[in-house]
Symmetry: C2
Subunit: 134 residues, 2 copies
């Protein structure tokens, strides 16, 4: 598998584990050490594995957690680190996110995620479109 395919696969697996509420797969895909961080769309910033995972566990446990679709992922490979940017559609809102991965023993493990709101309509192909005004 090419590097960019493997990184895109890892990024897809992140959203899949989230949507499946598979906390074991989710925890496994993050790097095991403490050099991880996460910035949620609310702007909440979490640093270190305990903080990052503690927050995700609360999100997984919430009945209000939405499903997240991702669109137009693009991978950027920098040796043993890579990042993927993609649009995220969640609860009717469009976000845009960065997922940073580090290659650890041939596996891409997540070290950072940032998600942020999009002010205007995002220009990706698969977005649900407004019906034309009659």
């Amino acid at each position: 598998m090419l590097d960019d395919e493997a990184v895109l696969f890892a990024s897809e697996a992140f959203y899949r584990a989230f949507n499946d509420r598979d906390i074991d797969a989710f925890e496994e895909m993050w790097a095991a050490d403490d050099a991880v961080a996460c910035i949620h769309a609310s702007g909440e910033l979490l640093v270190g594995r305990a903080e990052v995972m503690g927050k995700w566990k609360r999100i997984f446990a919430s009945r209000y957690s939405p499903i997240v679709e991702f669109h137009e992922p693009r991978a950027f490979i920098c040796g043993d680190v890579a990042f993927v940017i993609s649009y995220e559609v969640s609860g009717g809102r469009t976000l845009v996110g960065t997922n940073v991965f580090r290659r650890v023993r041939r596996r891409w493990r997540m070290v950072h995620h940032q998600s942020g709101r999009v002010a205007a309509t995002a220009p990706f192909a698969d977005a649900p479109r407004q019906p034309p005004a009659n």
Copy 2:
């Protein structure tokens, strides 16, 4: 200089060049190749050097561009790639940003920037505080 000091310095130089409207220093600090991306706080996503720099030039040229202070920068080193997360205060709003750097011939060059809004008051020490209600 230790790696984390050098990366924090590079991240500080990014904000300094922005605040000085020094487009030459700013362009020089981004990686020269096309594998760069930028997500602005509006959610606008730009990919490739021409798109990324074109947008920054428009921002630099605008009389409405604010000054950006940064707070609590934290560096994460992953070999020849590193990322810095920090709060950003701009035009009275608090944002939180990720700056990703790649080491190119011993210099840390920016390859990705994402900035996003913070919903609640950010918990950093140096923020201007609201005066107490009397």
